[in-house]
Symmetry: C2
Subunit: 117 residues, 2 copies
DNA sequence: AATATAGTTTAGTTACAACTAAAGTATAAG
DNA sequence: CTTATACTTTAGTTGTAACTAAACTATATT
């Protein structure tokens, strides 16, 4: 198990918690994870995945061109159950969205043009 | 109990965890808390106490010129027990010191002159 | 009223996390 | 070998948390 402090640091970020939820009970490719958060670039997602991987909170494997991520539930100890309960909350999505908005850093992504040209 | 997310945010800071440990099982004045962390100014401590108080994680009362703080243990739910276990760790002090060094912001305090002038 | 003590608040500084854009890497397929 | 897909990494930007120094508030003491 990771040190409690390292764990607390890693899960203090709403963005990383969002990723953790996605890969908590099943594997997902980096691309699938990115699709679930269209407000950030692929690079941003990849960087947070790296943080989580280096903290030992997710495991990765390669398959063909894909990188497949999965939470390392055992690393979370009891905090895992806390997070699960948090995610069961019906208002979770709303709360997360508010947090992401509040803790956002760096420039906003340039909106992609959708046709019209 | 505070929202899990607010809780996670509050305890993600090593400095705030240090404060919480001090006021976890007994009351302490702001001055006593400050004495326990001579590497920062009184203002810095006061500001973090305010953050914790606004998150509902500590309670304050005034007595004479002192402001007396105490952790609101009930607000922590199961996380409280996690923190307690972390603090029981014999290496806790060392680990915390390393974290404080790593997450430090702002200018360093100007060392007080000790005589010699 | 003046001074001391105990703390809070405000204004300004700094380091860094979280981002973007673009370049780079790896695998697959024509 | 070239092009496409699926990422990761690097270089640069921005917002803000954590600080300092100093001004301020409140209570107690002389």
């Amino acid at each position: 198990m990771a040190s409690t402090a390292a764990l607390l640091e890693a899960i203090s970020s709403p963005r990383r918690r969002e990723i953790l939820r996605l890969v908590w009970s099943r594997e997902r490719t980096a691309g699938e994870i990115r699709e679930a958060m269209p407000d950030v670039t692929f690079g941003a997602v990849s960087q947070q995945l790296k943080v989580l991987a280096e903290a030992g909170l997710v495991v990765v494997r390669s398959e063909s061109r894909s990188r497949i991520y999965k939470a390392n539930q055992e690393a979370f100890g009891e905090l895992g159950r806390m997070l699960e309960r948090m995610w069961e909350d019906k208002l979770w999505d709303l709360k997360l969205a508010a947090e992401l908005e509040q803790t956002r850093r760096g420039p906003r992504p340039v909106p992609k043009k959708t046709g019209k040209g």
